[in-house]
């Protein structure tokens, strides 16, 4: 007899709602076979088994809340990493990218092209992501060093006296998020007050309210809504986990970051010819050579030239974090909401590899199979809405990143070449950036660099 125990679901994910149980009693399951579909506040994920055996008992049903460490299946003749007592740190990643290349997918990100009919946009949508490290979003996490709090361990409830728990409740602090400074991580009245004070302060300065408190959440809500039913029929639906997380994350990004958006256009007439030429080759490899893929590569090169775009502002720690890796987030529009999977080490991959990867990530996003890991750790994000339309937009920076590139619908325009107007295919670019770290001049330099690289792919090889 053994049990399957919910593994660590990723950074900052404390629990999930069971959407589906993918096995039934009597099933023989194998290691890595998905057994549960969970909705966390970050994403919907499939949890693969790390044990094998025959399922004798299923202890959860759809709608139940589960936590890492919780036993959900009992197995017979089981073996594997996670025996009866083992909360081994097994990963909750969705199945790794399979070796088999995805079948040539229906319409991967459509490049903003000439006036073709808009293809069903896949990699598109508004800027912004649902992925952020909750723990770093907590205002207290980085505050100037109180004595290192003992992390409350896996135990039943927050170690706080009843009167302290009551105080927390009354002022709207989630006591489980308060670091205790007492022996054994015990939370004192002062810890609660200190925590509340820090939340209030961070609200005042840079809006880092986060979801740490009920009050913090309420901040984004604003004044009470009028009674809409007075004016006609209405329908009320609960927010999904992804929508709620998106709302919280975007409010936070909008509040925390002084945004500026810079517009430009890139002449992609030449690029489009090259792109068409090499498309079949990429297709053969199982990818689609899209403008998004090319932009990812260009942005990756630009990030090396302009390191302040591959950085994060640590206001509480009074420092700037520069990243030595180059990961690019790609906003994907799905039925369930906006997701931003992250392409890793873009600087080390060629366009064929990137095209295939984008395709795979987009499909996973739509199938709700992205793991938390696959949506974390971006350097900068790209949001390509060109497949749908638009001439320009002001994307919101995917905090804690400091810049985001928006792409709108490209098309032919008359361009003055010094003698006459010439039809050139122009691609509108919108760069939003965090003005705390990036100055306007740097931003337009960055955007010009990107535009020139798109105009003349050779520039990339030359300067990138």
């Amino acid at each position: 007899m053994s049990e399957f125990i919910i593994p660590n679901l990723g950074d900052g994910v404390a629990q999930g709602d069971v959407l589906k149980v993918l096995v039934k009693a009597g099933d023989a399951i194998k290691i890595d076979q998905p057994v549960l579909e969970l909705e966390t506040d970050k994403a919907t994920i499939e949890v693969p088994s790390d044990v094998e055996g025959k399922v004798t008992e299923i202890k959860v049903k759809p709608g139940d809340k589960v936590k890492p460490g919780q036993a959900v299946l009992t197995l017979e003749g089981a073996s594997g990493a996670n025996g009866a007592s083992g909360a081994s740190g097994a990963k909750a990643e969705a199945p790794k990218q399979d070796a088999a290349p995805a079948p040539p997918a229906p319409e991967a990100p459509k490049a903003p092209q000439a006036p073709e009919a808009p293809q069903a946009p896949q990699v598109t949508e508004r800027p912004k992501a649902s992925v952020t490290n909750i723990s770093s979003a907590r205002p207290q996490a980085a505050a100037p060093a109180p004595p290192p709090p003992v992390a409350p361990s896996h135990v039943t409830s927050a170690p706080a006296a009843p009167s302290v728990r009551r105080l927390a409740r009354e002022i709207g602090v989630d006591v489980s998020q308060v670091p205790g400074t007492g022996p054994g991580g015990r939370i004192t009245q002062d810890d609660i007050k200190e925590f509340a004070k820090r939340v209030m302060n961070s609200l005042g300065s840079n809006g880092q309210a986060a979801a740490a408190t009920g009050a913090g959440r309420a901040v984004g809500v604003g004044p009470a809504l009028p009674d809409f039913a007075k004016w006609g029929e209405i329908e009320r639906k609960p927010m999904t986990g992804i929508r709620r997380k998106t709302a919280e994350h975007l409010s936070h990004a909008w509040n925390a970051i002084p945004h500026v958006t810079q517009f430009d256009k890139a002449d992609i007439t030449a690029l489009e010819q090259v792109r068409k030429k090499y498309r079949p080759e990429v297709e053969k490899a199982g990818g689609n050579l899209t403008v998004t893929a090319i932009a990812a590569k260009v942005v990756a090169s630009a990030l090396k030239v302009f390191p302040q775009f591959n950085a994060s502002v640590d206001q509480a720690g009074d420092s700037i974090v520069y990243k030595k890796y180059v990961n690019v987030g790609i906003a994907v529009d799905t039925e369930n909401g906006l997701l931003v999977p992250v392409l890793r080490n873009v600087d080390q991959k060629n366009l064929i590899q990137l095209s295939v990867e984008i395709q795979q990530l987009a499909e996973k996003a739509k199938a709700r199979k992205l793991s938390i890991d696959e949506m974390s750790g971006g350097s900068m994000s790209i949001s390509n809405l060109g497949g749908i339309g638009g001439t320009a937009f002001t994307p919101i920076v995917n905090w804690p990143e400091v810049a985001i590139l928006g792409i709108s619908r490209g098309g032919f325009e008359p361009v003055w070449n010094g003698k006459e107007f010439e039809p050139r295919q122009m691609l509108p670019l919108s760069l939003s950036y965090d003005h705390r770290l990036i100055d306007g001049a740097d931003a337009i330099r960055f955007l010009r660099w990107v535009a020139e690289a798109l105009e003349n792919p050779f520039a990339l090889t030359l300067r990138g």
Binding site: I5, T156, A161, E170, G184
Partner: protein, 471 residues
């Protein structure tokens, strides 16, 4: 606050709610079928059973005294007088609650309540008249009833439930207790002390399912001696009663196929009593186990109706009900109260008593929590030796990382009183050091808690047990 709150059911949950609401200035109506507030606990449960257990303990000790050189001879028991004493205990306490109810100007109505709509209650009173009560809020404190299963529900004066057993119809020669839970063991102990040959039959492999085995062991050893027979892993398959006895068929190893007893006490548990007329005229939901569904504030799906106590969920314990009562009343007042205890103590008032709070060892294991258990055996306690009751143990269940006390378990004489300190320790997030560094009076059994904490550090004065090197 001038809201009108009606509390239906006046057990330790209901009357606590009514009194607290009155103290907060609300207008309160308390409805129950008994003459005074008290409920099962005061009338037919905790209190009368404790009166009888007190007598049982005296009887046992008087026999035990022989070993100390004192002999009383055989006890003469006047069952009518004993019953009368028990009734006086109940009368004293319930008339007391009646008094404080009046002092608080609670409108106490004796009768059966039914719900007309979420703000209207009809009470059928003893004189067959109806009274309509209009309220802003309701608190349902409807309690629980002994579980009945059809095969064991024989209509015979010889087949008792806990209520019947507390009425002491006589001192029978023999009695079978069906169910090895706390009710059966407490009442069984009473009858055994009075001279009845008591047998117990329990379906699961051990007495007191849910309690840690190392604690139950002390009680099991004791009842092996004081009871006629203890049959575990045994089912009752049939039962029939005639005028003189009840014949019971068993299925289980070590159990006879058939045996006859003067009386049978059926104590297989309690079920929530959510059957109040008119509940379907509200949005209140009842779970498939029969509990009224509530949120953390004990608010039902009907926002002005709350439910507390046995009817609102496990564990069905008076002290849980009265705590919930305060939460519900504070919620009505608009406070942000939530029912979220870190520990709800459980006490079995047998002799020795068994008590625990917080997490049990078995639960910790089930949840895969890494814990360390520090045990202090009572043979090392001066007080336990002095009173000749070394059949006990005190243990702490500790988180090795933070050294916080997550659970406390006790077996032994007076364990029910000692567990309170454990509850405070858990609620306060106390570490083993805190307990170790608090001076406990000598010589008392309470020292066993302090010394158990010392055991955790491998430094107990009266126990030599060096601490294992933690890896």
């Amino acid at each position: 606050m001038s809201a009108h709150v009606a509390v239906i059911g006046a057990g330790p949950g209901g009357y606590a709610a009514a009194f607290y609401a009155a103290d907060l200035g609300m207008k309160v109506t308390l409805i129950d079928n008994e003459k005074n507030p008290g409920g099962v606990c005061l009338y037919r449960g905790c209190i009368p059973s404790k009166a009888l257990l007190h007598v049982a303990k005296l009887l046992d000790e008087s026999k035990h005294a022989k070993e100390w050189g004192i002999e009383f001879g055989a006890a003469k028991i006047d069952i009518d007088k004993l019953r009368d004493y028990k009734n006086r205990v109940v009368e004293k306490l319930t008339s007391g609650t009646g008094q404080v109810s009046k002092f608080r100007k609670v409108n106490y109505i004796q009768g059966w309540a039914s719900i007309i709509d979420p703000t209207t209650i009809k009470v059928k009173k003893g004189d067959a008249t109806d009274e309509i009560v209009n309220v802003d809020y309701m608190i349902l404190a409807l309690g629980s009833l002994p579980t009945k299963i059809p095969s064991l529900s024989i209509n015979s004066p010889r087949v008792l439930d806990s209520t019947g057993a507390l009425d002491l119809p006589e001192i029978p020669k023999s009695m079978l207790v069906i169910g090895g839970g706390y009710i059966g063991l407490e009442l069984g102990s009473v009858y055994a002390a009075l001279g009845t040959k008591v047998s117990v039959v329990e379906m699961t492999p051990g007495l007191l399912p849910g309690a840690d085995r190392d604690l139950v062991k002390f009680l099991a050893q004791r009842v092996e001696k004081t009871f006629e027979k203890v049959m575990v892993s045994t089912k009752v398959t049939a039962m029939k009663a005639d005028e003189r006895s009840v014949t019971v068929n068993f299925e289980g190893e070590g159990a006879p196929k058939e045996a006859a007893y003067d009386y049978v006490l059926v104590s297989i548990g309690r079920r929530p009593n959510a059957k109040i007329d008119g509940l379907d005229r509200t949005k209140v939901k009842v779970t498939d186990k029969g509990f009224i569904e509530t949120d953390g504030q004990r608010r039902t799906a009907e926002p002005t109706i709350f439910a507390i106590g046995d009817v609102a969920g496990e564990p069905m314990l008076a002290h849980k009900a009265s705590h919930e009562a305060r939460v519900a009343v504070e919620a009505i007042e608009g406070q942000k109260a939530v029912f979220e205890p870190a520990a709800i103590p459980a006490v079995v008032f047998t002799d020795p008593e068994i008590a625990w709070a917080g997490i049990t060892e078995a639960e910790a294991e089930k949840q895969g929590l890494k814990v360390e258990v520090a045990k202090f055996p009572w043979p090392a306690s001066g007080r336990a030796i002095a009173i000749d009751r070394v059949d006990g143990m005190t243990k702490l269940i500790i988180d090795p990382e933070t050294e916080r006390i997550l659970g406390v378990g006790l077996a032994g004489s007076g364990a029910g009183e000692l567990i309170a300190e454990g509850v405070v320790a858990i609620e306060m997030g106390m570490t083993a050091s805190d307990l170790k560094l608090s001076i406990h009076p000598h010589p008392t059994l309470s020292e066993t808690l302090m010394e158990a904490a010392e055991v955790f550090f491998g430094q107990a004065t009266h126990v030599y047990k060096p601490r294992k090197k933690s890896s």
